[in-house]
Amino acid sequence: MMGAYVFLLAIFLGVELIGRVPSTLHTPLMSGTNAIHGIVLLGAMIILGEADAWWLQVLGFLAVILGAANVFGGFVVTDRMLQMFKQRRPAAGAGAGAEQKK
């Protein structure tokens, strides 16, 4: 039952936090929350950390790799998107153009 309360409060919290976001931040926000959803990595670590049988170790190992990719890749990608926000919008456009030439 405790879980149900946490779930309920989390839903309201999420809606409140994300409710009024300028549209320029929509994509970085989506990317950031995607990185946070990599929290499943913790579950994978526990599975692997309790795995006795070889096939459980294989599954757990795969799960840890995928989870770590979600977390670390997610935060790096979000940071890259947010680097464009340092200057005003025009500079952000130039930044994207410069990146494309690479």
């Binding site: 936090l17 994300i18 009024r20 976001v21 931040l25 994509t27 970085p28 926000l29 950031g32 929350t33 995607n34 990185a35 946070i36 990599g38 929290i39 499943v40 990595l41 913790l42 579950g43 994978a44 670590m45 526990i46 599975i47 692997l48 950390g49 309790e50 795995a51 006795d52 459980l56 170790q57 599954l59 757990g60 190992f61 795969l62 799960a63 840890v64 790799i65 995928l66 989870g67 770590a68 990719a69 979600n70 977390v71 670390f72 890749g73 997610g74 935060f75 790096v76 990608v77 940071d79 890259r80 998107m81 947010l82 680097q83 926000f85 340092k86 930044g95 994207a96 494309q100 690479k102």
Partner: protein
């Protein structure tokens, strides 16, 4: 006493991580502090990862865990750094899919290794397998299309909707059966079947 201390530290760490996520998310919605918000959330995640590593549940395969994290983190960070900015959408897609894959694998492993699974738990496990697998294969296709390795045209074949419906119906039936039967090899096989069927459905 020592065991209680470790559990307490882990719980406190998770608590701190949750605070970091909430504040980080708040800052992520504010243009001036968005980048800081991302960093705060990342710090919270780091704390949570370390806490899990030293937790009581994680009792073996420490090296495998570290190696797995290094591989996943290393490859994804490297890829994230070198791709063009225009490739960002597909990067987000594929990382999200990987998270879904993690969830599905965790659910399947859990179901296949624990005795005495309660109905509620069994339901979330089955749902986890379903949603995670669909997310994984679907995101993979999205990535390939955004990366233009696959044509943007939807792939259709005769009676596609019928097949999708049949697969989904099959998954539902297997799911209900697996939950009803509790644990045991029969329902475990069902859950595995759901895993692969959902992968198919996602694609």
């Amino acid at each position: 006493m020592i065991e209680n201390g470790r559990d307490a530290i882990v719980d406190l760490a998770y608590f701190a991580a949750a605070i970091c996520f909430i504040i980080g998310l708040k800052f992520l919605s504010t243009p001036n502090r968005a980048r800081r918000g991302n960093q705060i959330a990342a710090a919270g995640m780091a704390v949570a990862i370390v806490a899990t590593f030293i937790s009581r549940e994680v009792s073996q395969n420490y090296i495998l865990i570290i190696v797995g994290i290094i591989i996943g983190a290393g490859v994804s960070s490297y890829a994230s750094r070198i791709v063009k900015m225009t490739a960002m959408p597909q990067m987000v897609a594929i990382f999200n899919g990987m998270g879904g894959g993690t969830a599905a694998l965790v659910s399947v492993s859990e179901f296949s290794s624990k005795p005495d699974i309660a109905r509620g738990e069994a339901t979330s496990i089955v749902l986890g397998v379903l949603i995670g697998s669909i997310s994984f294969s679907g995101s993979l296709i999205a990535f390939l299309k955004l990366q233009e390795m696959m044509s943007g045209r939807p792939i259709t074949f005769p009676n596609q909707k019928l097949y999708n419906l049949l697969i989904f119906a099959g998954i539902v039936v297997l799911g209900i059966a697996a939950i009803a039967l509790g644990d045991g090899t029969v329902s475990r096989t069902f859950v595995w079947l759901i895993f692969f069927a959902a992968l198919l459905l996602g694609a």
